[in-house]
Symmetry: C2
Subunit: 341 residues, 2 copies
Amino acid sequence: MYKNDLYLRALKGETLERPPVWMMRQAGRYLPEFIKIREKYDFFTRCRTPELASEITVQPIRRYGMDAAILFSDILVIPQAMNIEVEMKPNFGPWLPNPIRTQKDVDNVIVPDVTVELDYVMQAIKATKELLNNEVPLIGFAGSPWTILCYCVQGQGSKNFDKAKEFCFTQPILAHTLLQKITDTTIAYLKEKVKAGVDTVQIFDSWGGMLSPTDYQEFSWKYINQITEALKDDAPVIAFGKGCWFALEEMAKSNVSALGVDWTISPQMARKFAGNKITLQGNMDPSRLLSTPSEIKKIVTKMINDFGKDKYIVNLGHGILPNIPLDSAKAFIDAVKEYKA
Amino acid sequence: MYKNDLYLRALKGETLERPPVWMMRQAGRYLPEFIKIREKYDFFTRCRTPELASEITVQPIRRYGMDAAILFSDILVIPQAMNIEVEMKPNFGPWLPNPIRTQKDVDNVIVPDVTVELDYVMQAIKATKELLNNEVPLIGFAGSPWTILCYCVQGQGSKNFDKAKEFCFTQPILAHTLLQKITDTTIAYLKEKVKAGVDTVQIFDSWGGMLSPTDYQEFSWKYINQITEALKDDAPVIAFGKGCWFALEEMAKSNVSALGVDWTISPQMARKFAGNKITLQGNMDPSRLLSTPSEIKKIVTKMINDFGKDKYIVNLGHGILPNIPLDSAKAFIDAVKEYKA
């Protein structure tokens, strides 16, 4: 089906010559060809225009030849479709002028018909599949319901999402109503993405690690698991929980096909918590791409040896930073391609 | 020596009727009596005036009767004394107009005579001891060298301290020179604090958890351990590393008397990693103080049962937030005092 199917085979746990590699946020801010597009079109225009989203998606594949593409989009297209106003302010990030705080706010949130409201994403997937021409698989994604709630309630990025937590801890019933609406929308959205052509879906729980293990179960994992269960006959699901090391054991027992881990856990600990049956994905510190290319190659080789070459997908522990030199990103990818067991 | 020595006895691992309790940042922004002082005096005036610092230190003890006081001060008094300009901007936080980036910047950093440059801290300790009148012990503190470096290089607070990490990963020799200067100053400072009257010292590694386990050893733990070794005949040292669960096993083997843990680790896991010999301190999510008083009492009782009442100091998992109701802070303290095994 694909000229290069390493990524899909790693998800199935097959024995491979080398692990596949891609980078979170590989389509984006560190690439000059992306910056050129950004100069002409604002953030949501890029997301909403299939020609732009697909072009941005394949840019890193053309330049570096990663083993999988990930659709250029944003986790906040979901709340946008749910009747929540979301802006992306340059040099600031997400800005939601009317954050969710009350019963009335939650009542106003709708579970949309994603085939209408998010059709532009489906068109972008189809355009991308044409550009990719069966070279490598395409990953679709969504934010975890908890992470989406964080932005909807806080109204912007935050060091500790204190307002989001206040909302959950003082109005838990309301919080669960909102989380369920986000979950229902996300399930419909991801199923539609699979129909449109993505081969796997990744759920980004960027802020799960801000919760205690007990609160994580209640406010985050419960909903990720609902999504995973709903998608199990559609496509492999990869769950990435930043800072969620404490839940790896539980997550590994679910129907996810792989678990993404950040750089604050050693490969050995990640394998110990998650067991040896599940595929793991990660986890170099994105800031380590500021080291010299020869250091990067050493770190990557050690990382593959420590995770083991099978049931493993090489990645960063979070998104690539905007100030990474092109040669350093290349060194990261090349180190994997040159890997010899 | 003290009318209430529960805290010191918990550090020694003695069997107690109940664990001691205090709260990180207990002297501060959630207290109306503190806010009154803040209206009249700016941040560093409060730190530098022994009458103000000592009054602020004892305010929470008077109101709630915690089992230990912690000197009102700031981790950034150290870089200030080292010839680095540090401002505290209202509604913004620390601001260092000339962040450290080059060899010349590091050369200009001095290891000061702390008995001169930080004499105001020693005077604040003496004034506090008088006010405390042997009721409870007094804790002194410092930031970890890595956490201090984060501010010195980044120049302000940050979500990921990317510039601090860039400095360490691209100019490691320079980073180690700076870390050693901070370590030498911190050792002299903490020894002087003990002479002035603090009973224990806590090292706050607020940003250690931003590093990978390997980088944590190189850039943070190595220096905390130097401080611990240097202080071992002076006073008990408590190390608090936010997000540093991955290093607990190693830290527990050192000469620290206790380890502070944040709320993202369960008590059971913390005991498993740190072993059963060392006293642990923590770890309720500060945002959980937004729950109702009756919920808070349930969470605290469960937390004591899960950590075990001995070799344990009840605390939050990080500093108390500014928007915590007074009754909720009281519920937290009272739950410990009312605890029955």
